[in-house]
Structure formats: C-alpha cells, structure tokens
C-alpha cells in the first residue's frame, strides 16, 4: 500500500476538522479571538486516529509517502518544537499536538510498511522528542502531561526501531544511530536483570560503542547502591538525552542513599551533614530541594546551621509520597543547542 497524499494533511481531513471545530491552535488561520475559525491549509498536519475494527482499509490518498512524512517531521521540528521555551506557551497543548501528530506519522509508516533508513530516522526523531519531554515536562500536572503515557509511547518507538534495525540488518543495511538508541533502551531498564543478556545479543560494534558502554556503567551503580558514583557519572555525562532518561532513577537513588546514610552516619542520633553537601552528592537543585527531601523523610533540620540530622528514630524509610519532581539543571545544562537540534 503506497500513499499518494502530497500534503501534510489530507484535504478531506482538513475540511472535516475545520467544520467540526477540531483544529489545533497551530493549524489555525487567525487567532480565535477574532471570531474567525478556519484552517490554514499550509499548516494543518494529519492527526492520529485509532484503528477500529469496522474501519475500512486506508485509502492511498489519505496516506503520506515517505518524502511527505519527512517534510512533515521537518516542519514540526523546525516550527513547533522550539516553542516549548517561548514564554507563555501552553506546554500541555504543545505536547499533545506534537505527540499526536508524530503518532500520526508513525501510523502512516506502519500502514505502508515503510522499512528503510528514511523511516527509521523519523521514528528515531519521535523517540528523541519523548525523551526530551520526560525531563522538560516533569513539573507539569497529570492533565497536561502524563509520564506514563509518554513512557508508553517512547517504549513503542524503541520497539518499532528494534524491529526495523533487525529487518534491515538481514539485508545488510545498518543504521547510523543504532548505538544511540540501544543505549536509551539500556537506560530505560537499569533495574531489569535481563538487560545485560539483551545487550550481549547485539552485534559487537554496537555493544562496544561509547553510547552503550556509558549507559551500562549505570547498571553497576544501581546494582551496588553506589549513589555517589551514580550522580557523579550523571554529572559528567555530556549527553543531554541520556541524562533525561536518568532522571527517573534520581528518587530511587536518593531514597537508597538516605536509608544507607541514616544507618551509617553517627554517632547514633547525632550524625549529621550539611545540606550543601547533599546538593552535590544527590544532585539536588539547591538547599531548598535537599531540605524538602529531608522533611519528607522525617529527618530533623537545623535551619541556622543548614544541616540535617540522621536520626534513626524519626526516619521514614518510604514516605507515602515523594516530593514533587523538579526540573533538573544538572540535566538541562547539558543541552548545548536548541531543542530542535537535539531531536
């Protein structure tokens, strides 16, 4: 099945959505305040629609061939992605639009069974987008951004890529970014005992690549509860997207660190540490974040001396709720170019 639609969005859908008032802000001709609601035919992007059992086979004129998909992705990256850093931008809408439209691109790829370097590149870009979001949007409410759904989509992208890498390798075609994405897969499964065995199955140039090896270093730090090394490596790792994926382990490492320090630091009931040291040790943003953590774990603080006491009797091993996630400058400082460049 080969697509023939030459626009980013099939004509029928453009008119249909305009009529049903289902356009995204990014697709509109003029702002809604001016009471005109119409689609900008140059800016509309095909949305994702779930396949239902009673839906007919997609028609060729509704599917976009690879060059059009590439043009669509280029448009999204060049014109929409960087808006996340524009002041006043609604991040929930921004995320939903990009996620949905990228999902639409992925669907067109699967429906046409496109398996070549060009389609691999498109799915890779989708995955990078989700990785960036997992960190950048971590402070948003569940309604605006759901980490779980973002993770599911990321996992789906990586799954698709794994199949494509395999199918192409059978034809002796190798993709230039495979090591990068295998390393992301490792970082998503640091707690999973099976990950080492999976890495063994990769071909040697991927297994020995810099990206995969640096991701594997983190497996050991988690396994040996070496919280110091974890944050040290996170700090020295220069890859922005790899660090975005590390953020999900911050709380786990911090919690373990607290459990260990409460037991090990003494004299018993008198062992203490400066909040400032905790920032470096556990990757906090500032003394305030460190202090909030101590509070959630029931550890008494001295506000004047800015120290925390490792009091075993008041320590809460697993608080019911962890303090809200904060955007991490440790991570964001690694992004040395625009977001669109990263993707």
């Amino acid at each position: 099945l080969s697509g023939t639609c030459l626009d980013m969005c099939p004509e029928k859908e453009r008119y249909s959505r305009a009529e049903k008032h289902r356009l995204a802000l990014y697709e509109m001709l003029v702002s809604p305040e001016k009471m005109e609601y119409d689609v900008d035919h140059r800016l509309a992007v095909k949305e994702y629609s779930r396949s239902s059992a009673d839906q007919a086979e997609p028609l060729a004129h509704e599917l976009r061939p690879l060059p059009v998909l590439q043009m669509t992705m280029d448009y999204l990256i060049a014109k929409i992605v960087d808006r996340c850093n524009k002041p006043g931008e609604n991040l929930g809408d921004w995320f939903n639009f990009l996620w949905d439209r990228m999902r639409g691109i992925r669907k067109d790829i699967t429906q046409q069974s496109l398996c070549e370097k060009g389609s691999v590149d498109l799915v890779e870009k989708c995955a990078r987008f989700h990785i960036h979001c997992t960190s950048r949007l971590c402070e948003l409410d569940m309604q605006d951004f759901d980490q779980k759904i973002n993770d599911e989509n990321l996992t789906k992208c990586l799954q698709t890529l794994k199949h494509m890498y395999y199918d192409l390798s059978v034809k002796n075609i190798y993709c230039p970014n495979e090591a990068e994405f295998r390393s992301y897969d490792v970082l998503l499964h640091l707690n999973d005992g099976e990950i080492l065995r999976e890495v063994l199955q990769l071909r040697s140039e991927i297994r020995d690549s810099y990206e995969v090896r640096s991701a594997l270093e983190f497996v050991n730090t988690l396994n040996s509860r070496n919280y110091v090394r974890f944050f040290k490596l996170a700090r020295s790792n220069r890859d922005y997207l790899q660090c975005c994926l590390l953020q999900r382990y911050f709380n786990q490492m911090r919690n373990q660190a607290f459990q260990i320090m409460v037991q090990a630091y003494g004299p018993p009931k008198k062992g203490q540490m400066k909040l400032f040291s905790l920032i470096n040790l556990l990757g906090y943003e500032d003394e305030e974040e460190a202090a909030i953590w101590c509070y959630y774990h029931g550890l008494p603080l001295d506000p004047q001396k800015k120290t925390v006491k490792f009091d075993r009797t008041s320590f809460i091993e697993l608080p019911e709720k962890f303090p809200p996630m904060r955007r991490s400058s440790l991570i964001e400082n690694k992004r040395t170019s625009s977001v669109s460049n990263c993707i």
Binding site: Q159, H163, Y166, D167, G193, E194, L196, R197, V199, L200, V219, N220, N223, S224, R225, N226, Y227, V228, R229, K232, Q259, I260, M261, Q263, A264, Y265, G266, P267, P268, G271, Q272, M273, N280, L281
Partner: protein, 399 residues
C-alpha cells in the same frame, strides 16, 4: 517400531489403555518414543480409524496426538503446539473423571513435557517472524499446565496410594522451568508454597527434588536471600547423581557465587573438575582483596557470566573484596578511629581509578548498612569509628 502401521499402533494403544497400563500408553503418546518415526501413521482419514478402534473419550486424545505428529513432520511448530495444547486440555477433563485413580499420571508427565518443548519451538518460530511478545506461547502453556496442576492438587480425598497429588512436583518443575524462561519469577511463589505445604514434600522422587531445589535456589538468589539459596543449591548439588555431570556443573554455576558471597571460596580442584575455570581469577581476586584483578576477571569472561545470569551477583563480590581490603587496612592502623583517607589510599593503591573521598565514604556506608562493618562514619571528623569488638564479623555469620 519405526515401521509401525496405523492399525497396529491403534490396537496397541487401545489395549494398553484398557489394561490401565500407564507407562505403555505414555510411551505411545510421547514424542521421545520411536513410534513417531513411522511414516505409516498419518494416513488419509486416520480419524475414522481411530474412532473405530479406540474407545471414547480417549480416542479424541489419540487423534490430537496424530495431528500433532503430522505438523511436527512438517516442522510447523505453532500448529503442533496448538494440537498438543488441545490434547492436554482433553486429558485434563478425562483425568478429572478418573476418581481415586492415578495410573494416568505417567501420561500426564509425558504430554506436559512435550507441551513445553513445542511451546519453546513455537516461540522461536514466532520470533523469526518478528513477533512482539517473546515467550507468549510458553505463557499459554503455563496456563494449560496450571489446569492440570489444579486437578492434582485438589485430589485430597483419595488414599495416599491413589491420589493424583503425586503429580504435583513434576508439574511444578515444568512450570518453574517456564517461568524462569519467560522471566516471570513472581508466579513461582504460589507453586512453591503449595509444595512446601504438601505432606509428600520429602517423598517425591529424588530427581524431581533435585530439580525443584535447583530452581528454588536460583529464585532465592534473585531475592538476595543467599542463605536459603545456599541451602537449596547445596542439596541439589549433593543429591544430584554423580553421572549427571552437566547438571552438577549447572548447579555449581549458581552455588559458587552464592558461597563466595557467604565467605567460602571454592578450591581450584573443584573448578577444574567441573570445567569452571572461568571462576578462578575471580576467586583469587576476592581472596587478595584486589579490586583491579576482580574487575579484569569479570571482564574476561563477562559473556559467560551474563549468559548464565550470574554476572550481577559476581559484581556483588566487589563488596566482599572491599570488605577484605578494608579489614586489612583497619588492622594495620591499630586504632578504632580510622581516617577515611586511609581507605581511599588503599583503593587507589589497588588500582581503582577515578575514586574520591565521597565515594569511599559511600562504599563504607554500604558496608555498614549491610552489617559487614560494625561502626559508624563521623562526618565531622571524616573518620570511620569501629566497634571495639568484632568490627568485621565473619561473612557467613551475617544474615
């Protein structure tokens, strides 16, 4: 046997069935038996012959077996699995109707084993076609076997001689093998509990007990319950027949790391006898407290260790190595308040690169947390203050 024709086969299986000869019927339904080599069994319209010669409801099972055989001959494993699965389910129903009777257990063993084998082959087939979920057929096989298990486990009104509960451990072992392969260890818990509660716990056959202890031991490793792991795996190793070298070696691959974590190092003779020299360098390194040597040893055979699934446990030996090293340092310092720098220097001397005071403190803190050092870290003085008595308890004594 390989030239058996259909009528002969059917007459034989029917007569064995009628005389309740469990072993004979099981042979004629097993894919390990030479009758499967015969080319004269799958004839056109064989179902009718079966119906004619074999009594109901057993005839359904024979038909399914022959259908399965024809798919195996065509190497269509997914289809073969489907037939075998239907066979097991038909057998389950039949088995349940046999009150106070367990002669058919022999059949159950054979068809369960074949079910698992075909499921593995079917999954391989699916993987080649690019299936999404690895192990999906094995998962279905497990559900099928659970049905059989429930029939056996529920048979608690019959006498000890006739009860179907004797079949429980065999099925549990099949299920454990599946759950380990598809990495769903949490499903083992209920089965282990059932066996532990069984009155026949210690009366099942020795080979079944060895297999059982092997898997339970491995599960204990995953849960970091090394004391239990040692108990189970030692039993398995000692009771495993000395001629089953491959199995003994397999058990050792897991027993050795566990014992090392508990402070007992294997002798070079043992390693040589069972062709496990991959562990020698590791053993030496731990004995010396030599971290660089340990790292190299793990790297040298990492593929082997990872494939066996013991790499991460061996990584934990780093802790044992640190402990051995720090104990030496502490004894040298002859005081109860040792500056952390002393340990840092020792680590650097042993070739650990890129290490600083913070990380040294972290390693020591972990040792204290695991009860391997009795003492505390004084942050203000940057010292480790150890207990005056038994600051480095023997590893075997620590729970």
């Amino acid at each position: 046997m390989a030239n058996l024709n259909l009528t002969q086969y059917l007459r034989e299986i029917q007569s064995s069935w009628q005389s309740r000869s469990g072993t004979e019927v099981s042979e004629l339904l097993s894919f390990n038996h030479p009758h499967v080599m015969s080319s004269k069994l799958i004839l056109e319209g064989f179902e009718k012959s079966v119906e004619r010669i074999v009594e109901a409801p057993f005839d359904e099972i024979v038909v399914l077996h022959l259908r399965c055989l024809s798919y195996i001959n065509q190497q269509k494993y997914l289809e073969a699995y489907t037939e075998q699965s239907a066979l097991v389910q038909a057998f389950t129903k039949l088995f349940q109707t046999q009150k106070e009777d367990n002669w058919a257990l022999f059949i159950m063993y054979v068809i369960s084993l074949d079910l698992r084998m075909f499921a593995i082959k079917a999954d391989k087939e699916l993987a080649k076609k690019g299936a999404d979920k690895p192990g999906q057929t094995l998962e279905k096989a497990a559900e099928c076997l659970m049905g059989l298990f429930r029939v056996c486990a529920a048979d608690n009104r019959s006498s000890d001689e006739d009860t179907k509960r004797w079949g429980m451990l065999y099925l549990v072992n099949q299920l454990l093998k599946i759950y380990f392969r598809i990495n769903k260890l949490h499903l083992c818990k209920a089965l282990i509990r059932a066996i532990d509660a069984s009155q026949f716990k210690d009366q099942f056959s020795l080979s079944q007990q060895v297999t059982y202890r092997y898997y339970v031991g491995r599960k204990a490793i995953f849960e970091s319950d090394f004391k239990s792991a040692e108990k189970y795996l030692t039993y398995a190793f000692e009771r495993c027949h000395k001629n089953c070298r491959a199995n003994k070696r397999l058990i050792l691959i897991y027993l050795i790391p566990v014992k090392m974590l508990l402070g007992h190092l294997p002798t070079p003779q043992l390693l040589r006898k069972y062709d496990l020299l991959q562990f020698s360098e590791v053993v030496q390194a731990v004995r010396e407290g030599n971290l660089r040597r340990l790292n190299n040893a793990l790297l040298q055979h990492d593929a082997f260790f990872i494939r066996c699934g013991v790499y991460l446990i061996l990584e934990k030996l780093k802790v044992t190595t640190y402990r051995n090293l720090f104990k030496k340092v502490t004894l040298l310092m002859k005081t109860h308040q040792i500056p952390i720098e002393a340990y840092l220097e020792a680590l650097k001397f042993m070739g650990v690169e890129d290490i600083d005071l913070d990380e040294t403190q972290c390693i020591i803190a972990n040792l204290i947390f695991e009860n391997k050092i009795k003492g505390y870290i004084s942050n203000s003085h940057n010292k480790l203050v150890i207990s005056k008595q038994n600051a480095f308890p023997s590893l075997a004594a620590i729970v």
